[in-house]
Subunit: 254 residues, 2 copies
Amino acid sequence: MNILITAGGTSERIDDVRAITNHSTGALGQALAHAWLADPTCHIDYVTTKTAKQPEDNARITRHIIEGTDDLAHTLHRLLLTKTFDAVIHSMAVSDFTPAASFSESAFFHALNQALPDFGHQVSPALIEQVLATHDPEAGKISSDTDHLFVVLEKTPKVIQIIKQLQPGTLLVGFKLLTDVSKETLFEVAQSSLRKSQADYVLANDLQQIDGTQHIGYLLNQSGEVGQGKTKAELAALIVTTLQQDLQHIQPSK
Amino acid sequence: MNILITAGGTSERIDDVRAITNHSTGALGQALAHAWLADPTCHIDYVTTKTAKQPEDNARITRHIIEGTDDLAHTLHRLLLTKTFDAVIHSMAVSDFTPAASFSESAFFHALNQALPDFGHQVSPALIEQVLATHDPEAGKISSDTDHLFVVLEKTPKVIQIIKQLQPGTLLVGFKLLTDVSKETLFEVAQSSLRKSQADYVLANDLQQIDGTQHIGYLLNQSGEVGQGKTKAELAALIVTTLQQDLQHIQPSK
């Protein structure tokens, strides 16, 4: 059995020394790997970051270290094109945005003021596109000799959508983390993301309910709640058990 | 003997899940701690981050975990007001900027377009101050439902300046990291930062000369180069030896 797990948080480079990081300890991914290893037929490809918590070394785990969303997309592409996975659990906290350009105060004002007359003195998406297009990327570390720094971030492609595009037959678990919302909103948003990514399941959780050893989460499919857990170990067991049942159902010979 | 070491990189919160991090593995701080421990009279207060490499556990190391520059400033204040340090080695990569405000595309355009008529349709520092002052900080995680995200960063106070202000008698080593500059420029900028922070020494290094085990650095004082090293272990030994000689000189009885 081949399992693909992503865990930890991506890190998007602003310059040589600064990055925008997505906070995730990787502890749930670690728990997932340990839960899968209980099955001796299971091999895990584990996509993670340098700073994330790691599962124990094991001959049945192949580790792939990534940094940014670009890196993650390439690695998933490569893995999904070379190997068939029974299930993919995409627990990595992937940055929704990546720096498109960074400006010192004077460079940003200059670029905006240059563009404003062409756009009726109104800041608009088209104006920003022009500012970004004419932006001369400063190599290396941005000088700290400016009162403000302006970082313009652009949306990253939704990496999770690669998975079912390349392997429609794999079982896919996505994750949706919101903060301080009602359970109804959490479920709605999570199920909408499940549909967009064609995931079979989505683990919905709220940052306000994650603290120390507590980690409340709900496993949903298209029809509703499949189960819930109160710790990372419970959530890992819930996900692994649910997928194992599905996999036995799909492949009764195994 | 009391030594204070800072190591690792600060992390500045954008929202509940995103942060701007300053890349630093903390490996040089780790090497410094190990080099100081060879002196059995030495006690180390070690200010570090959760993700930095750590020196081995030792009864003579007291660890203080920080996240952002605010946090770092408070911790240094507290330590410097309660204890006298023979030397402070400030190797932490401290963020020069911290997020002042984050805007979705529509919120940023709206705020700029509202302010522009009051400022003669010119983007200026005063206009940005007004935009920031009227900014309604969105709590929690910023919605990803926007094409661009605009993060405005503002300068952080220079934490290193606290050190000599609170303990003029301590020996202070600062660090200056530049990228891809000439040795002359590196020395000039490093010595200027030494003067501003009233440091006794500054370790000047260039990101282009740090790779794997290689870490080229120059220890400078006000008069010029004191020594150089080609690895983190060499640099740690150079710093510790130099400070030990100075400390013997200051306190011949010890």
